[in-house]
């Protein structure tokens, strides 16, 4: 099984080595009209507040989780800083929110993503303040929701832990950029309509992001395994890894 995955990864990677140039990142400052910017802020705010409450509750129940939460935040911080060459000939970066979503559930990552995106918007002119709501929505809400849902579903269905973690984190990374495509196509579309514009943006985004999504999925597996090895009690307290999952491998 494991060997098959490795092979698939290599084949996929090679396939995409020869694709067209493209781009993939957060939505730039000022590129969403005010009403859309406001819309995404309104959509994101409840999740961020839920995330804050969720963090508060978890830390109160078990104060030692604070460190693990900071670890998940640091992971997202590092990965969003790493602009990696993609096989399409341009650079993009992973989001790193999959790990935290698997450990803490989806909404705490809305809080962490807001911090990361604010840092990049204020100090790096990457993303933006006016587009913060939209970018939090894609990276901090939809991505983590999908990661969390997929991971829980696969663990429940009896999937091996590593496979569940890999697929959830990789797909979550892709979903973030699909949501970004959707957000852009809602604003910028031609006569072909939103669907055509989405297809255009998504085709560009997805292809650039696929190898990076695979890399992020694999890295998340490595980190989760390291945590399992040294930090079992806290992970069990979070009870997210599945009861049977702890002992396999």
């Amino acid at each position: 099984m494991a060997k098959k995955i490795y092979l698939t990864v290599l084949v996929l990677g090679l396939t995409f080595s020869f694709s067209q140039p493209a781009y993939a990142m957060h939505i730039m400052e000022g590129f969403l009209p005010i009403k859309w910017a406001a819309f995404w802020f309104l959509a994101a705010i409840p999740f961020v507040f839920h995330g804050l409450r969720c963090i508060e509750k978890k830390v109160q129940e078990q104060p030692s989780l604070k460190m693990l939460l900071a670890f998940a935040g640091a992971f997202a911080f590092v990965l969003s800083a790493l602009k990696l060459p993609s096989v399409t000939g341009s650079s993009s970066h992973p989001t790193g929110v999959g790990l935290g979503a698997i450990l803490f559930g989806p909404t705490p990552m809305a809080v962490i993503s807001t911090i990361v995106l604010l840092f990049q918007a204020l100090l790096l002119a990457h993303g933006g303040i006016s587009t913060l709501g939209a970018n939090v929505f894609s990276m901090g809400i939809m991505g983590p929701l999908i990661v969390y849902g997929l991971h829980r579903g696969m663990v429940k269905a009896g999937c091996a832990r590593n496979v569940a973690v890999f697929l959830a984190a990789a797909v979550g990374n892709l979903v973030t950029y699909l949501v970004t495509s959707l957000q852009l196509s809602l604003v910028y579309h031609e006569a072909g309509g939103i669907t055509a514009a989405f297809a255009k943006f998504a085709a560009i985004f997805a292809v650039t992001q696929i190898p990076l999504a695979i890399a992020e999925g694999l890295l998340t597996v490595v980190v989760i395994n390291f945590l399992m090895k040294y930090n079992l009690t806290e992970l069990q307290a979070l009870s997210v890894l599945g009861k049977g999952g702890v002992n396999d491998e």
Binding site: P21, G89, N225
Partner: protein
């Protein structure tokens, strides 16, 4: 066994990252932001951003300084935490 497996995964990650540079060495690998603007201009030629960044890094050097600061801060904490956990477990196993 476990460590070998994880080492193998890390190797694949490295390959994924390096591969484009090997197979497609002449690509620009430029930042995404500019290209995104081009694509939007293509769809909506008259669109203009209505808000610009409050502050921008004055040069590519300063930008990379801040990016590496971001990565350094994050990985600094990550390594501290992982080392701390590994040491804690070792201490427990010895006791």
């Amino acid at each position: 066994m476990m460590n070998k497996k994880m080492g193998f995964l890390v190797l694949i990650i490295v390959i994924i990252v390096i591969m484009p540079l090997v197979f497609n060495p002449d690509a620009p690998y430029d930042g995404a932001d500019g290209r995104a603007v081009d694509a939007i201009k293509e769809i909506a030629p008259h669109s203009k951003p209505w808000f610009s960044p409050i502050w921008e890094p004055p040069s590519a050097e300063i930008e990379s300084l801040i990016f590496s600061l971001q990565a350094a801060l994050g990985s600094g904490f990550i390594c501290y935490y992982l080392g701390y956990q590994a040491g804690k477990k070792k201490g427990k196993d010895l006791a």
